[in-house]
């Protein structure tokens, strides 16, 4: 009874927060061999509200827009906005990103395209990169092995189906390990970011004992304290207990304002204003490499979520090739020519 009551309270409280509806957005980039990009956006919302400042991607009146109302599988009414625009090149996309007024304007995004002639084929590479938010955080790859990294970057629904599939025990163990290690990554990055911010604010004022190097040397100690006292960390921090232990009583009193400002900066980095979306890319020719996920329609997909670009840039890339038929013919004729010459020479000898 107690449990169900608690569940109802949690659900109600969270449902109130959840009522600020988040539009589900899928961005599809169709890359053309000449470097131009047709960008399509599909935004689904439970309400007929599509303010540009609520959408995950820059969208203005230069786009061709189509609005419709659909009924979802669950029978709910869904408002759908579909927009399309042909960008002459990636620089045009980057110009839109630079003048971004969308919900995700606080992050830095850029697209890149390259085309390489490789005689038998022409190679294409397209990427979208989101810059990291923390300047002193640790890359998650320092904490996870390749298998764990693959799990970390996998979409939730794929991981869930593995966790509930035939090898559930293996995947549950993997999931738990990833969680433990990413908790450590998270804690270390927060502390490192705080040290970076704090030493910047106290630069030139404080002594050697609060220099970047000396605080970094005691970083693990701070992390262990944070992990051990997570339940009462906030009160210990507010009372200055942790700071006194870490930088000494005199410095703690002297630089309390800087320590708090640095903590606020860390909070701002962690609570980045960002709405998740899905990026899809359609490459010209045959795909030869990617770090995305290939669905049954041969389209490349990436989940774009905030923890991917917290401490290192998140690059979504794809490579493809288009065969150069004329090069194949020219090469074939050349080989035939040389082989014939050699045969003639051999016959002459004979």
């Amino acid at each position: 009874m107690k449990n169900s009551k608690l569940k109802i309270i949690i659900a109600t409280a969270l449902a109130i927060v959840a009522s600020c509806n988040e539009p589900k957005t899928v961005v599809t980039d169709i890359i053309h061999p000449d470097g131009s990009v047709t960008r399509r956006i599909e935004i689904k919302n439970a309400e007929n509200k599509f303010k540009a400042s609520d959408i995950q991607i820059p969208l203005d009146n230069t786009w061709t827009v189509r609005d419709s109302v659909e009924i979802s599988k669950n029978g709910d009414t869904v408002w759908v906005k579909r927009a399309e625009k042909l960008f002459k090149n990636v620089e045009a996309i980057n110009r839109d990103y630079n003048a971004d007024s969308s919900y995700n304007k606080s992050i830095t995004r850029k697209a890149a395209f390259s085309k390489n002639f490789r005689w038998f084929h022409t190679g294409y590479r397209f990427s979208e990169t989101i810059d990291k938010k923390m300047s002193n955080g640790y890359p998650v790859s320092d904490f996870l092995n390749p298998e764990e990294l693959a799990w970390f970057y996998s979409p939730y629904n794929i991981n869930e189906s593995k966790r509930n599939g035939p090898d559930s025990l293996k995947y549950k163990a993997l999931s738990d390990t990833v969680k433990k290690k990413t908790d450590r990554w998270w804690a270390k990055s927060i502390v490192s970011e705080w040290i970076g911010g704090f030493t910047r604010l106290t630069a030139g004022k404080a002594g050697k004992e609060v220099s970047f190097e000396s605080l970094k040397a005691r970083e693990d100690e701070f992390v262990r304290r944070l992990e051990a006292d997570d339940k009462k960390f906030d009160s210990l921090w507010e009372n200055g207990v942790i700071l006194k232990e870490y930088i000494g009583e005199v410095n703690a009193l002297k630089y309390k304002a800087e320590a708090d400002s640095s903590m606020n900066m860390v909070v701002n980095d962690v609570f980045v204003n960002f709405r998740d979306y899905t990026l899809r890319i359609v490459m010209p020719g045959q795909v030869t490499g990617t770090n995305g996920f290939i669905d049954s329609t041969n389209v490349l997909n990436w989940p774009v979520q905030s923890n991917y670009f917290l401490t290192e840039p998140y690059e979504m890339w794809a490579e493809s090739k288009v065969p150069n038929r004329w090069a194949w013919i020219v090469s074939g004729l050349f080989l035939l020519f040389v082989v014939t010459g050699i045969i003639i020479k051999q016959k002459g000898k004979g």
Partner: protein, 181 residues
């Protein structure tokens, strides 16, 4: 036998005497010789062409260079195709079964943000926190999972008297510590 040979000679002499009278024999001869000469010239010009195209086969360094170039071209092709095949094989690991309309973004970021919120003394206002229906579902699932694990743990403790005793002892110690404080 003799009569047969005589008959043959007779026929032969008759045939010789009745040979057809041809006009312009000389012209005909010239025509035939001319035609034979043309065929020879065509044959000669074709072999000249072939010889000039493939003249390089008699120049050692050109022959070697062209053979090397062909070998390099073949090697380059094989190398390129091997790299492409490797890349394409690796793509199988990136395949997902269904068409991904949009990925439900459910990760432990929200959980970590909540931890951060707690650690930093709730420096961020609750209105800045956004949570989707799916995330809400995840929290409820986690809650259920935690409940299950908790029940399992209680069961394990109940079933093991030694463990139960040791935990009770620890709890009593903790209580004593707190009362002393």
């Amino acid at each position: 036998m003799t009569s047969e040979s005589e008959k043959y000679k007779k026929v032969l002499s008759i045939l010789r005497q009745s040979a057809p009278k041809l006009d312009g024999v000389e012209n005909m001869e010239e025509n035939v010789i001319g035609r034979i000469g043309r065929i020879g010239r065509i044959h000669r010009s074709f072999s000249d062409l072939i010889e000039s195209i493939f003249a390089w086969i008699y120049i050692g360094w050109v022959r070697r260079s062209l053979v090397t170039a062909s070998a390099l071209l073949v090697l380059f092709f094989v190398h390129q195709q091997t790299i492409i095949m490797k890349g394409v094989n690796n793509l199988n690991k990136r395949a997902i079964a269904t068409e991904a309309e949009s990925f439900p973004v459910l990760n432990d970021a929200i959980e970590k943000q909540l931890m951060m919120l707690k650690l930093t003394g709730r420096r961020i206002s609750a209105s800045d926190l956004e949570i989707s229906g799916k995330q809400l579902e995840q929290i409820l699932n986690s809650y259920n999972e935690l409940q299950e694990k908790y029940s399992d743990l209680i069961k394990i403790i109940e079933e093991d008297p030694a463990l139960k005793e040791s935990i009770e002892k620890k709890l009593a110690e903790e209580r004593n510590k707190k009362s002393n404080l």
